[in-house]
Symmetry: D2
Subunit: 474 residues, 4 copies
């Protein structure tokens, strides 16, 4: 499904590199590969000697960085972030990396995820005199690090601070003498470690490694704190690994098809989900089409298993940047179709299987079903390569509240009627788990199913709030 069409968005993508003379430039290309994880802000912080220099701004990676700006970012270690922002997180002050200056050592942080005890920690810290300049969880960690007793080593202070955080988080931290990388105890958000020649790299997705020519070594482990400095790489733990619970939506929707998570390729996993769907339902139809871009793999799999030919029944119109002039409501009503065009000759007079990765509020599905019918499809069978979304996410996915989720309190048949499809099928939870292929029994290979089941892998604190409700707390 199209990210632009609905409220299902990733919070961001992070990257880090240690030991490469072109650290900032490599980061620029890596962030470009992660651009799909956040289009609203980007930043890179390099370490030059002991000094941290940051360039960041609102917009796409190539809007934020000019050749000149990039050329000024010299140094052989860097971290970066691309950012998706919710309404409350707008503003240049929330773009990361965020730098914290201190006489005892400056820090820059880039973060992917969402803490469930952020409000509690903020209140606790404020009571002790901390003041906050951003609304991001990132700042909470910086304050916690600073508050811990000064007799500890820096690594121990960071470990102690990390151990107080609850929720989903993948942190990349640039210190004055090294890089620190942390993954939450459940391993909710993907974070991979790699090598680029002699340099170490870390990224939210392995597709960044491919673009820069790096090799993926392994995932950062739940509860692990990696420190990289002139003495080399040191792995440590700030917490026991809890039940591993990698976000299902990374496989279903967020990650790029050429990325791997824990060794499982996203395209392959999605294709297997599509095949499994075809085994779970039998549909008499003429063509299979996927909703670009994230549902293409599942559609190919469905076609292969069902024997129904795969066709390009929907074409995405690609808009460039924030300067595109959106059509007025009047023009939309007159028929101007942005984002998706149906391919008339492919669907006209045909029974169409429309494969999508998920349904959030249902409005988009309804619109696409309608597009296909207007273009002449005689039947539209919607098959969804994941189970129904029934619960909100507290771990960094900007999913709607449960009252907005079409699947909350509706039967599949009722949803089918709402979106106007001739039939509607969701992949079973078991089918999805088996297709993705993480073993639920293994310690480090679990999967978070909270949005499908309402069972959260972490405690949900009294102050746990949806990202878009944070403003109220302040």
């Amino acid at each position: 499904m199209l990210a632009e069409l609905r409220g299902l968005n990733e919070e961001c993508g992070v990257f880090g590199i240690w030991g490469h003379e072109d650290a900032a430039q490599i980061s620029y290309y890596a962030l470009h590969a992660l651009q799909h994880r956040g289009q609203e802000g980007a930043g890179i912080c390099v370490k030059d000697g002991k000094k941290l220099h940051v360039v960041k701004g609102e917009g796409l990676v190539n809007e934020v960085f000019s050749g000149e700006k990039l050329s000024h970012l010299t140094g052989n270690s860097a971290i970066g972030q691309v950012r998706y922002t919710t309404e409350n997180g707008r503003g240049i002050e929330n773009v990361q990396p965020t730098v914290f200056r201190s006489t005892t050592g400056s820090l820059a942080l880039a973060h992917n995820g969402n803490l469930v005890n952020a409000a509690e920690l903020r209140e606790h810290l404020e009571r002790q005199g901390s003041i906050f300049q951003t609304t991001s969880d990132t700042e909470v960690l910086a304050h916690l690090i600073k508050k811990t007793s000064g007799t500890l080593t820096q690594r121990d202070r960071v470990k102690k601070a990390l151990s107080m955080l609850k929720g989903a988080f993948a942190f990349v931290i640039q210190t004055e003498d090294g890089l620190m990388i942390a993954q939450d105890p459940n391993g909710l958000r993907p974070l991979s470690l790699g090598k680029l020649g002699d340099a170490w790299v870390v990224a939210s997705e392995t597709c960044a490694f491919d673009l820069i020519g790096a090799e993926c070594i392994r995932s950062v482990e739940p509860g692990e704190l990696i420190t990289i400095n002139s003495k080399g790489l040191h792995s440590d733990r700030f917490a026991e690994a809890a039940d591993s619970a990698m976000c299902s939506m990374e496989y279903v929707y967020f990650s790029r098809p050429d990325s791997d998570i824990d060794g499982i390729n996203i395209h392959a996993a999605r294709k297997r989900c599509g095949k499994q769907l075809a085994r779970e339902v039998h549909i008499e139809a003429d063509v299979v089409t996927g909703v670009p871009d994230s549902s293409i793999s599942a559609a190919i799999g469905f076609s292969e298993e069902s024997g129904i030919p795969y066709e390009l029944g929907l074409i995405k119109n690609r808009y460039v940047g924030r300067t595109f002039i959106q059509p007025s409501q009047e023009l939309r009503e007159k028929g101007v179709k942005m984002k998706l065009s149906p391919v008339h000759q492919v669907v006209k007079g045909k029974r169409v299987v429309m494969v999508d990765d998920s349904i959030v509020r249902g409005t988009t599905s309804k619109r696409i079903v309608n597009l296909l019918k207007e273009a002449g499809a005689t039947e539209v069978h919607v098959v969804i390569a994941s189970p129904p979304l029934v619960s909100p996410c507290f771990y960094g996915v900007d999913i709607s509240t449960d009252s907005e989720l079409i699947a909350t309190g509706r039967t599949v048949d009722e949803i089918k009627d709402v979106i106007g499809a001739d039939s509607l099928t969701f992949l079973s939870t078991e089918g999805m788990l088996a297709s993705i292929g993480r073993s639920q029994e293994m310690k480090n290979c679990g999967q978070c199913l909270a949005c499908f089941t309402g069972e959260y892998p972490t405690e949900i604190y009294s102050d746990t709030v949806l990202p878009y409700e944070k403003e109220i707390v302040r």
Copy 2:
């Protein structure tokens, strides 16, 4: 294959609309749908009363037009163009539409194609006192119209002028009281007529109609001159239709998969080419992958017919605009891969069928074969969904000179060795013609095969020159 990676480029896309109060805005969206035909310049000229107002500039459609600029373009008729420019055609003065002011009536022209007798006509016109401000063929037509005797009606003057042109051309002309649309006698470049409510629209590709919600009526016929004004639409001829010769590369590579040319859908035609290829060659392999974006349809067809699974083995990295900072040669050599990333898990240890639409100089094919092998493919079988390119194009495709074409003077086996493939197969000319499905016998349904065969559908004048040699003539 990727447009950015080689010298095979379309000259432009044109659009026109008559009788719609939002003429400029509709044109903006239509040009966006045609953006793939030219990324280096864009312009829209509206007629407001009898006055012509033009906004144009270098860059993408959304870079050239701001909401403010667009809002000033009021009027109910407009023409527009997106432009690909060769090295010699650079500069704001060559961006179209071009307006010619005259006390006897101003004109604005937008053009797609290339004249083979342009240099001859220019010299002829200059001898009679014409002076030129651009290097484009468009200006030649404007001068010819002006030079014809003043006693003729405007339509007759235009007809007389058009009859002197040789080569490929699709013109959309905005006059002070109407719209004129002309297609060359061989119908070399696509041009379709449609309706949007009561308004008439014309576009290089039907995908523009889909986006704005218009209905395709028919193709503009070879040798036809259509005049649309307050009295309605009038069809006329400036020349007998010659042997119809629609550009093959429109089906093979240029057009968007959701466009139709003469009722034939591009995706469907490409898929049939892929199927036909699978019938013409037998390959033992594990996966089929297409080179995005234009080869995806053929790859799907090849997979369907051969039974070898279709996978996303190559992912395109999407760059936005001209501000993207290209990696230095040094970074490229260090492994930074722009444009295409192989999907390791899909190709590792696999025998891969790599489907591409065509091979021009061979350098890109060599690079992609190499990418796949580095990613672990054990065998790479290249199959090309069109015949070998052996002759230059004089009709507006910026193809290399024959000395640069890898297929000129080389056997298929020799090409295979150059690109490092384990096998190489081209689609037969007969297979391509049959798959695309235009009937060669029918008057209006022929196909230009010049780049594959060296047989040109028009005379080639003494002054016919490759586009990039024009500068020498001046």
Copy 3:
């Protein structure tokens, strides 16, 4: 008076250079010095070998040229223009230099001035088949050059073409092998020749020479055609010098105070006008203040002669570029003052002499008188350092039509009442002539007084139209 506040604007400034390896960069700085003559468009055309390359655009010099664009303009000869545009002259196609391509030799032209027989010549040329792409007079000359018989040398063709033009014009022409410079027979617009080391330079104002470190040699003479090429500089005539008639407003208002015209420094001339004014009127007052920027010199002179102290009673607020957000009418009414602020402490309780260079429609004068009174001035005596403007200009000054000129059909006393001044004095024509110091008797040192007297130095053709009425003709 402030250019932004009224309809009294210069058409443009031109520059040319021959024989300097940094031709384009020198042009960039020279055009910056001429920026006050036109803020709406700028362009530079260099000759590299025999090829002409042009970069131009709408906006200020530093908005049009980036370092990258400038670095691509290599070659040792260049011409440039900064452009003021009337409503009808908008659009990128009217920005100069304009390049005309021809097999017999390309030309680029930059022009300052206005032809009085342009419409007649256009019609004549169109009847012979010429077509125009711009609304500028520049194109007329290019067509005339082209139309003249081919047996003449290029220089003779240019001379013949120039001899057909009537009105005010200063042309700088870049040909494939040289630079040509022409001044109209009356010498209506300033144009100076200089040397920068071994290179020749030409500019509308000598302040451009100062900035680039060039030395002024002399003015280009009325009716002179200078040709500069590899053989050196050659001076010729295309017409007998008519009665010299340098535009008075150049001294009064347009030119920069540090420029000289025919050896007379502008600041010095204005100061003498101010002194003369003080001799022509006696005012009892406490302070003298000038309306910035162009009236400062006259105010200093008035103060010096009258003995009344000169003070900064009005301060200009400087806006940068076209992106400045203008206050709404509502905010203006609430008191937001753009452009000019009175200095309260300087004028409060004082009898103020307010020196301005001229009055066009009177609305601005009225506003400034009001500003001063609101700030506490007890009396405001307006003295104008030039005679009343009563006739329109046909030579390139975008002055209002006579019906809009406040001085047309009104006595000085009536004007005084309209603007709310306590007294109003204009400099006498004789006083102005004597103060500026061109000798009216000398052949080359006359002065155009048409806007003050209605006596035009050239014939006024039947087709002579105000610049803003040109559109009607087309």
Copy 4:
């Protein structure tokens, strides 16, 4: 003297408004009037209900704010800043206003000045767990406010925090329910209170009031804390007023001539300084000229008193924004003169009195003397409208260290020789004090003379450092 030419720069300008429905727009225009105080960053923070919204960025006011951005800043209270930045203060994170979020109430701060005990306070705060995101003094105040006991009212907490600051500071603070305004106990930086209809306004300079149509009420007093909220304006003290010590350089150089400080108009004060100079020295000369823009008033005064005519002998070339392409060193050496052009006819063969406001390193003075001599001046007598600068400033003026000041350890005669003048005269300290006209005896009308005398009005703490040395401390 020209700000661009030397290291003598103001830190910034601040503005605040309470009770106006167009608060953000009024701030935009007011900041434009303060633009001369800082060109490197600008920001506005509005209070909408209880929420604070900020827009800020690097560049000029009109580069940072688009009409769209401004229109989103709704609310009836706002604060703003324009910023000059030293090398160490670069970066978007240092642009103000800075917002500090807290559950107990958010704050936004805008600051003009420099603390002398900032490093000490930072260290103290860090030891207690504070972490800093900027290198600005502003953040120190925010932390101090937060650290004070929670049982105090907000106003008392702010007073307590302010009382710990030493040095020069003018703060404008936006709280969730009001505006707070503070001036340091010595009143080192100007800060004026005004009314715009029913709304309260505060600004670094009164020229901002004139532009927006506000009336100046009085200066904010040394040690005063003004609170404005829905209950009205409340004046309070956080410290006893110390010896008043308004920065002399505000009169000499920084402030706009149309501003008043403590009721003394800047232009008038400078003119009196020029007159006094003419009384302190007798020079035989032909013309007086000022170095634009800040020395014009003194030059007018010198001319008036000495009877030597005032002329425009030097013209400033105005560059627009940061996009201007600076000439290469090579071009400069070839004679390209940026920033200042001499007016040849005015100075040629003349004995010139060149009036400047001050001399810092002397390099600029040397260059200008040289310019005038090259342009033909037979003698150049430099007169400086202030005493020699011999000591660094710790209060926010980015003056050079004493080792760079040409006047440190040199006699006037030696300086004269370095800059190549025929004579050199500085205004006496007594002459300056008398001319400016603040009474040294009065409590609130003293003047800081530290840069002329080395006697600082405040303690200089062990950690007092020059602004550009701050980086070392971190």
